[in-house]
């Protein structure tokens, strides 16, 4: 570091610092100061440490761009392609309201949205099941699996079997007949319903947890397995270093203040007496 950085005292952030606009203002020390300061601009990035050089080299040519092997590794280059079916998959049906959009809350809470999406296993099973003839369409299977999950979750709730975190295999409590009755309104033939129920139950027993992700209990806080994510966390206890701002203006506070005033008056009287006594003695 040069003599320019000589700083005998730490900087006080509250102190107003003079802003020197011209090179002439620097002249109390050295006429070459301004030139030196200007020259340092070119090396400002190097001066700030290795992290910044690595980053600097990847700028769009506006900074000091000398690429090096290390830099190429630090900042990846985006590789992407167009999706051909995009125009068909995403329809032009969005009408932006003139006022800012208000959130409605999670779909799970609002209504009948089928949160479950068929996965590979489900699709493969359905293909097999529909092999001879079309027994069931995918949308119906999706609704059934979704509803079975919800019903089973409710059954576990009623039985007090819901744990806040994952502590062991999650049991299946929903029985076929109960499910059948609850889902009668879906008008599914009994044989089909039974096949779906059995498929679902077998899958649940293999997975040992719900197949609808929202219903899967999170890992416990002390789980150190790096594969597991989204542990619940309590809000960090915030140190109260000051009394709460919301002071209650009630009778108790008033009485307290009165008491404090009486004590202070008494202390004042005592001090007054002491002063008199000591001046008499003198």
């Amino acid at each position: 570091m040069s003599r320019l950085s000589f700083r005998p005292r730490p900087l006080d952030i509250h102190k107003k610092l003079p802003i020197l606009k011209s090179a002439r203002d620097f002249e109390d020390d050295d006429p070459t100061v301004a030139a030196f300061a200007a020259a340092r601009v070119g090396v400002l990035l190097r001066h700030s440490g290795s992290e910044l050089t690595a980053a600097a080299a990847a700028t769009d040519g506006e900074g000091n761009s000398t690429p090096s092997k290390k830099n190429a590794q630090e900042i990846p280059t985006p590789q992407f392609d167009d999706v051909e079916t995009y125009d068909r998959d995403y329809t032009r049906t969005f009408a932006q309201p003139s006022c800012y959009i208000r959130g409605r809350g999670a779909r799970a809470e609002i209504g009948e949205f089928v949160e479950y999406d068929l996965d590979n296993e489900d699709e493969d099973w359905l293909d097999d099941y529909n092999n001879e003839r079309k027994n069931l369409n995918p949308e119906k299977l999706e609704v059934l699996l979704f509803k079975l999950e919800i019903l089973d979750h409710k059954a576990r709730e009623r039985a007090g079997a819901i744990t806040p975190t994952f502590i062991g295999p999650v049991p299946v409590l929903l029985q076929l007949d109960v499910a059948m009755e609850a889902l009668q309104y879906l008008s599914v033939r009994y044989a089909v319903f039974q096949a779906v129920y059995n498929y679902w139950r077998a899958k649940r027993e293999r997975w040992q947890k719900p197949i609808l992700r929202r219903l899967q209990p999170p890992p416990p806080v002390n789980d150190t397995n790096p594969y597991n994510v989204f542990r619940p966390r309590e809000k960090a206890h915030r140190l109260h270093t000051r009394r709460m701002q919301r002071r209650e203006n009630n009778i108790q506070s008033f009485e307290k203040l009165r008491l404090v005033r009486r004590n202070l008056d008494q202390a004042k009287a005592l001090m007054g007496a002491l002063i008199k006594v000591s001046s008499c003695i003198n």
Partner: protein
Amino acid sequence: QGHEELDAASLREHEEFTKVKNIAKIELGKYEIDTWYFSPFPPEYNDSAKLFFCEFCLNFMKRKEQLQRHMKKCDLKHPPGDEIYRCGTLSMFEVDGKKNKVYGQNLCYLAKLFLDHKTLYYDVDLFLFYILCECDDRGCHMVGYFSKEKHSEEAYNLACILTLPPYQRKGYGKFLIAFSYELSKKEGKVGTPERPLSDLGLLSYRGYWTRVLLEILKKHKSNISIKELSDMTAIKADDILSTLQSLDLIQYRKGQHVICADPKVLDRHLKAAGRGGLDVDVSKLIWTPYKEQG
């Protein structure tokens, strides 16, 4: 960041585990994107080299047909949550991780594919997500986002920040940084990004701090304290100091510290710092700071 809970053996396992990329490509809306890093998707997804994301609710699926079936029923055309900013085709949505848990988790799974140091250790309840979107007649398409703790002990006003690869180098990242400071100003607090910053993150922040501070110094007539600069910009005093010091703009003259603001010198620094991104039009921000309910 987030590794304190792991003992030495687990930490080694964790490091090994996170080196191997699992998902190589994703489809998200208009683009098929190569991923950069490992992301801890549920074990059922370990056998997939490619995942298909619904652009709006961010649910992810293993086969294209599953996504197409999902699109027929998914009526979401924008991020869940409140739109808090709209300027032209650019919109910002605020999503509460507690109210929209699945969306928040989906977003974290997705973002991790492009962020090296992000951790999904803890749940999303304690975070707010600010989703930046470009809007058209198909909906509001996410181009980037940043997350923020609802309550930060360390005055962090930003936890993670990402511009999706197809939208990088267009000024969105700088917009996100500027936006995070506009929120801090509205809250009446100073803020700073969570550390450690990535290489690109540090570069972007240095650029932002340089532009904001030097523009003030160019115009300011009288003396100024670091604290005043902090109050004006919501930038933490430490960050202001380190920026000005790294540019050699703080000198010691005649027994006191001074700020060197020779316009030619400042302009050279500003040029090196790069262009600003898209501007934040504060008049279009309709937002009140987050308050815990109940």
